[in-house]
C-alpha cells in the first residue's frame, strides 16, 4: 500500500498540476507533493532497511535494500531540488510564461514518477519502459528555455538516449531468452532470474550484458556514449540538471548493477568486472580531457559527472566487499555533491546571466553565500577531506590496488589531472573583480537553505561512517553477492 502511494503521489501531482491555472496553487501542489513523496519514501526506506521486503501489485513491484537505496536518493534529492525549483522558476519564468512554468512542474513530478517506477519494479521489461519514460519526461525540460542551443541539446538527448535504450532492450530480450529457454516458463523477474542464474546459457548472458552496458551506459553517461550529456545537463534548468546529474545517472547505473548480479552468478564475476573497469577508466579519461580547460561551468559539472560515474564503474569492477561498498557510497556522495553544485550553478546563472567561466568574476565578492557554498561543494566534488567523496574514492581505489593495480594507478593519475583542471576553473570564478555594473548580493538566497541538508550529510558521511548506514549498505552488498 505504502509502495503504491509512493508511485501514485508524484503521478497524481503531475496530473493535478497540469490542470491548475493559478501559480500559487501550482506551487502549493508541487511543494506538498514533493514533501509527501519524501515522507513516503523515508518510511519505505526505514522499513526495508529494517529487514522487510515490500511488494505491490502481485510481483510487479518489489523493494529490497538496493531499491531502497535508490528510493532514498531519488526522494531526498528530489525534495531538495523541488524546493529550490519554486524560487528558480519564479526568477526565470514570470507570469507571462505561466504555461511553461506549468509544464515544468508537471514534468518534474512525472520525471520523479518514472525514476521511482524504474527502481521499484521487479520486472526487467517494466524497468526498461520506465527508464525510456525518464527520457521522454525530461526532454521538454531540457528545452524549457526554448533557445536554439537548448533545442539542439534536447534533440540530441532524445535521439541518442532512445537509441541507447533500444540497444538495452536487446540485452533485456536476450537475458529474457536465456531465462525463458532454461526455466521453460516465462519469468522476467530479477528474483526468478537470480535463482535460475547458475543454469543460464552463458553465451547469451555475455552478449546480453554487452548490450546492457552500451544501452543503460548511455543513460548513465559513460564514455563514449556520453556525448548528449554535457549538452543536456548544461542546457536544462538548474533543478533539473541537479536531478539528471545527481539522480538519473544513478538510475542508469542501478539497471547495470541489477543485470550485473545475474551475470556474475551466470558466468562468474570476471567478465563483468573487465568490461566495467575498461569503460569506467575510459570515461574518467574522456572527462579528464575535457575538464582540463573547460570554458563553461555547467559543462564542467556535467563532464565531472562522466568522471564520477566512471569512478563508480571502477568500484563495481574492482568488486569485493570494499570495491562494491565504495561504489555504493560514491553513488550517494556524488549525488549529494553534484546536485548541490548544479543548484548553485543556477544561482550563478541568474546572477551573471552567463554560463561562461570567464564571464563569472569575483564570485566570492559578488555573491558571498553562493560563492562560499560553491567553493565548499567543489572541494567535496574533487575529493578533498573532510567531505564524503574523499572517503568513497579512497575505499574504491584501496580495493583497486589490491586486485587491479594498473587500472587503479591510471585512475588515480587521471583524478589528479581532473583535480588540477577543476581547481583552476574554480579559481577563475571565485576571485577577481566582479563586473562593475553587478549589484552585490546573492540571488535567491533563502532558497539555498535546503542545501544545508546536502552539506550536513556530506560532512557526516565524510567524518564518520554511521553504523546504521553501513548495516543498510551491507544488506545491499548481500544482494550484489558479497
Amino acid at each position: 500500500m505504502m509502495l503504491l502511494s509512493l508511485l501514485l503521489i508524484p503521478l497524481a501531482a503531475s496530473g493535478l498540476i497540469a490542470i491548475t491555472r493559478r501559480r500559487a496553487l501550482m506551487e502549493l501542489l508541487h511543494a506538498v507533493a514533493s514533501m509527501a513523496t519524501l515522507g513516503t519514501g523515508a518510511a519505505i526506506v526505514a522499513q526495508v532497511w529494517n529487514g522487510a521486503i515490500l511488494t505491490a501489485a502481485g510481483d510487479l513491484f518489489r523493494v529490497d535494500a538496493l531499491s531502497a537505496l535508490m528510493v532514498a536518493i531519488i526522494t531526498f534529492l528530489g525534495a531538495i531540488a523541488a524546493l529550490y525549483a519554486v524560487g528558480y522558476i519564479r526568477a526565470e519564468l514570470d507570469d507571462a510564461h505561466l504555461s511553461r512554468a506549468r509544464l515544468f512542474f508537471t514534468l518534474f513530478h512525472l520525471f520523479i514518477f518514472t525514476m521511482l517506477v524504474a527502481v521499484t519494479t521487479d520486472n526487467l521489461g517494466v524497468m526498461w519502459i520506465a527508464i525510456e519514460g525518464t527520457t521522454l519526461a525530461t526532454v521538454f525540460l531540457v528545452n524549457l528555455r526554448q533557445t536554439r542551443t537548448s533545442l539542439e541539446a534536447a534533440y540530441k538527448y532524445l535521439i541518442l538516449s532512445s537509441v541507447g535504450i533500444a540497444l538495452a532492450f536487446i540485452g533485456t530480450a536476450l537475458l529474457y531468452y536465456a531465462g525463458a529457454a532454461k526455466a521453460g516458463e516465462i519469468s522476467v523477474n530479477w528474483s526468478a532470474l537470480r535463482a535460475a542464474a547458475g543454469s543460464l546459457n552463458a553465451e547469451a548472458v555475455r552478449l546480453a550484458f554487452v548490450f546492457i552496458v552500451i544501452g543503460y551506459g548511455t543513460k548513465a553517461g559513460l564514455a563514449p556514449m556520453h556525448t548528449w550529456l554535457p549538452d543536456a545537463h548544461s542546457e536544462a534548468p538548474a533543478p533539473i540538471s541537479a536531478l539528471m546529474s545527481g539522480v538519473l545517472l544513478n538510475v542508469g547505473l542501478y539497471a547495470m548493477i541489477r543485470f550485473k548480479t545475474v551475470v556474475d552468478a551466470a558466468v562468474g564475476p570476471e567478465f563483468a568486472a573487465r568490461l566495467l573497469i575498461g569503460i569506467g577508466l575510459f570515461s574518467v579519461l574522456v572527462a579528464a580531457a575535457f575538464l582540463v580547460r573547460q570554458r563553461n561551468y555547467k559543462r564542467m559539472l556535467a563532464y565531472s559527472s562522466v568522471e564520477h560515474i566512471g569512478i563508480i564503474c571502477l568500484g563495481l569492477g574492482f568488486g569485493g566487499y570494499w570495491g562494491l561498498l565504495g561504489a555504493l557510497l560514491h553513488m550517494v556522495n556524488h549525488a549529494l555533491s553534484k546536485s548541490l553544485l548544479f543548484i548553485l550553478s543556477g544561482n550563478i546563472l541568474i546572477k551573471y546571466h552567463s554560463a561562461e567561466i570567464r564571464e563569472v568574476r569575483g564570485l566570492l565578492h559578488g555573491a558571498p553565500w553562493t560563492g562560499g557554498l560553491f567553493l565548499a561543494g567543489m572541494f567535496a566534488l574533487i575529493g578533498l577531506p573532510p567531505f564524503a567523496p574523499f572517503i568513497s574514492e579512497f575505499i574504491i581505489f584501496r580495493a583497486g590496488f589490491e586486485n587491479h593495480p594498473w587500472a587503479a594507478a591510471t585512475g588515480v593519475i587521471l583524478l589528479v589531472v581532473v583535480f588540477g583542471g577543476m581547481l583552476a576553473s574554480l579559481n577563475r570564478m571565485l576571485y577577481g573583480e566582479p563586473p562593475a555594473d553587478l549589484p552585490r548580493g546573492d540571488a535567491l538566497r533563502v532558497w539555498l537553505v535546503p542545501l544545508a541538508a546536502n552539506f550536513a550529510l556530506l560532512l557526516v558521511l565524510g567524518l564518520t561512517l554511521p553504523s546504521s548506514l553501513v548495516v543498510a549498505l551491507e544488506q545491499v552488498l548481500k544482494i550484489l553477492g558479497v
Partner: protein
C-alpha cells in the same frame, strides 16, 4: 501447421523485413520511406499472428493487432503529417551514398550472422534460424540513423531499429510479455510524437531540418 512450414514461413517473412530495411536506403521520396516502414510493420504483425496461431497464444495475437494499429497506421500517419507540414518531398543526401551504404549493409549482415549464429543454434525454438536476420536489421537500422542528416529520416531509422529489435525478441522468445510489449509500443509512440514536435521546432529555428546544422554546442 507443421514445424517445418512455420520455420520456413518465419524465415521468409524475416527476410522480407530485412529486405524492407535495406529498401529504406534506396528509396529517396519521404512518403515512399514512410510506406516502407508501414509495410514492414505489417510484415512483422503477420509474423506475430502466425506465431500466435502456432503457439496458441492469445497475448501474442494481441501484440500483433496493437502493432498494426500503432506502427502500421498511427505512426505512419503522424510521419506523413510531418512530411506534408514541412513541405519536403526528397531525402537530403546522406553522408554515404547508396552504393557504399549497400556494401556496408552487406558487411553488417555478415557480422550479424557471425555474432548471432552460435546463439541461434543453441535456441530450441523453430523460429530461431531467423535470429541473425533480425540482428542484421538492428545493425542496419543503427547504421541508417547514423548516416542520415535530416531529422525526419533519422526518426525513420530509429523506427526501423525498433522494429528489428521487436523481431529479434519475437524470434528468440516468442516476444516479451504482453504488458511489457504494450508499454514499449506506448513509449515508441510518445517518442515519435515528441520527435515530431522537435522537427517543427528545428524547422522554425534553423529554417531547415538538416541536423548537420545543429552544431552550436561545441567545446
Amino acid at each position: 501447421m507443421s514445424v517445418e512450414v512455420l520455420s520456413k514461413t518465419v524465415n521468409l517473412l524475416s527476410f522480407a523485413a530485412l529486405g524492407l530495411t535495406i529498401l529504406l536506403i534506396v528509396r529517396t521520396s519521404l512518403v515512399g520511406q514512410v510506406r516502407v516502414f508501414a509495410l514492414q510493420s505489417f510484415v512483422l504483425a503477420s509474423l506475430s499472428v502466425l506465431i500466435a496461431l502456432y503457439s496458441a497464444s492469445l497475448e501474442l495475437f494481441g501484440v500483433g493487432v496493437a502493432l498494426v494499429a500503432i506502427k502500421g497506421v498511427v505512426i505512419p500517419r503522424v510521419l506523413n503529417r510531418a512530411v506534408a507540414k514541412i513541405g519536403l518531398q526528397r531525402v537530403a543526401a546522406p553522408y554515404l551514398g547508396t552504393a557504399p551504404a549497400l556494401i556496408i549493409c552487406g558487411l553488417l549482415t555478415i557480422v550479424a550472422f557471425y555474432v548471432m549464429a552460435p546463439i541461434a543454434a543453441s535456441n530450441p525454438l523453430p523460429t530461431a534460424d531467423a535470429i541473425p536476420l533480425a540482428f542484421a536489421g538492428v545493425l542496419i537500422g543503427f547504421f541508417i540513423m547514423v548516416n542520415r542528416r535530416r531529422a525526419v529520416t533519422q526518426i525513420l531509422g530509429f523506427l526501423m531499429l525498433e522494429n528489428a529489435i521487436f523481431l529479434l525478441a519475437l524470434l528468440a522468445t516468442y516476444g516479451v510479455p504482453f504488458i511489457v510489449e504494450m508499454g514499449v509500443f506506448l513509449d515508441v509512440l510518445v517518442a515519435v510524437l515528441i520527435m515530431e514536435v522537435f522537427v517543427y521546432h528545428i524547422k522554425d529555428n534553423f529554417d531547415s531540418i538538416d541536423v548537420g546544422e545543429l552544431g552550436n554546442l561545441k567545446e
